[in-house]
Amino acid sequence: MSTFQAVASERNAADAVYNHIIAAGEGWIYDLFPGQVLRIVDVEGNQAVDTLFYSKEDPGDHYSAVRTITRQNNIYLTTGSVLVAESGRELLQITADTCGRHDTLGGACSAQSNTVRYSHDTLPMHNCRDTFMLMLAGRDEFTKRDLAPNVNFFMNVPVTPEGELTFADGVSGPGRYVELTALAPVTVLISNCPQLNNPCNAYNPTPAQVLVWNAEGGEGDV
């Protein structure tokens, strides 16, 4: 089996320049300067945090799951992983992680994919894709085409050598977090997942917390 490696951070919440709770089912969009550090906290545990990244300099250049995983030859993200865009541009690096493994293949739930996966009557249920679209619609630089396969922080999507893929109970727990250091100007888009039809949120969606620290040398310092 895989070994989860927890890497803790020395950063103190009191020094953060930004500190916000994203309620279950809510969205969040935020711009990071290079060198700034984003911490995402799984406050109550077993919560999937669906996240996309874009180059602030070229908003059409979205996070690329396949380029990211092929570059590191591993489908899971953890400390040391570099998240790259479709152009190959390096966007962020994971610099601390007390969960140990994050999903790159499960994507975001949508009303339409819920009808496929569960039943046609799930169409009205709140979902991540709706949150993503509502947040992107609030910014002139984005279009629907910018929706791309996303990262699911704290979510467990095991793949077997035989090619089976499942959604399993979380590998995370209360207070676990992941920290990402921006390597370029980056827009972060989060949907705090409202899915109730599978164990990705332990059938009980809960809040996520986001904190931002400035770079050591100050804002914008790399």
């Binding site: 690329s64 030859n73 591993n74 899971y76 339409q112 009808t115 496929v116 996966r117 046609h120 893929l165």
Partner: protein
Amino acid sequence: MTASFSITMGPGGKWSAYIGKGKSVTLTAAGDSANVSALLYHAAYPSERYNMPDSLKAQHTAFYTAGHVLMSDQGRVLASIIEDTAGWHDPLGGYTTRKGTDGKYGPTSYQQERNAWLRSGEENLTVELYRHNLTPRDLSAPVNFFSKVVCELDGTMRYVPQPTDGRSVTLRTEMDVLLVVSNTPHPLNPSAVYPGAAVEIRITDAAPMTEDDLCVNHCGENRRAFENTWNAYALMKGAN
């Protein structure tokens, strides 16, 4: 059956076309280590496109073979895989880049090698997308037909050679689609030699779907995605 159309992509080749629903599209490899990176879009409304995560999670799979379908981000079936003699088609490995191609096989250029220069998936797909007024913004995870990538339990991705010479895979279009393909190596193929398998694409009218259809009946998820697709076409069809 109407007359069939066929075209052969040499190593490094690329192709794209609008293909109506109900067509049978067979890719046949003439050689081992074949890899075709493929993207699919709704022909009329290309913001609806093949979605790797939606397809994988609905079918609980990390690879494709006969019985699987390629779903769009709207919960519909763009194409289904009705026959397959290769066994495994990879949805995870992405496409080769110019930088990666130069790094692995040595730099080549049109100036030096003329048309024998080594093409990349990134450039091939970009050009074929741009031909249809799409841009790198529309690039996403492709299906890599003929390639096998196994994920170990720790997540490590491992390219596993499988015989492809003479093997084929047949898609049936379930919607009017834009198909974009690039006959370029799999990014995780460790060989230092640029693969040289030509791939033929043959398109005919598909046989009518029957009650026991392999792809519709593969799982409840597939049936519901087909129902979404049929409903969408029923809504688009005029009453008179």
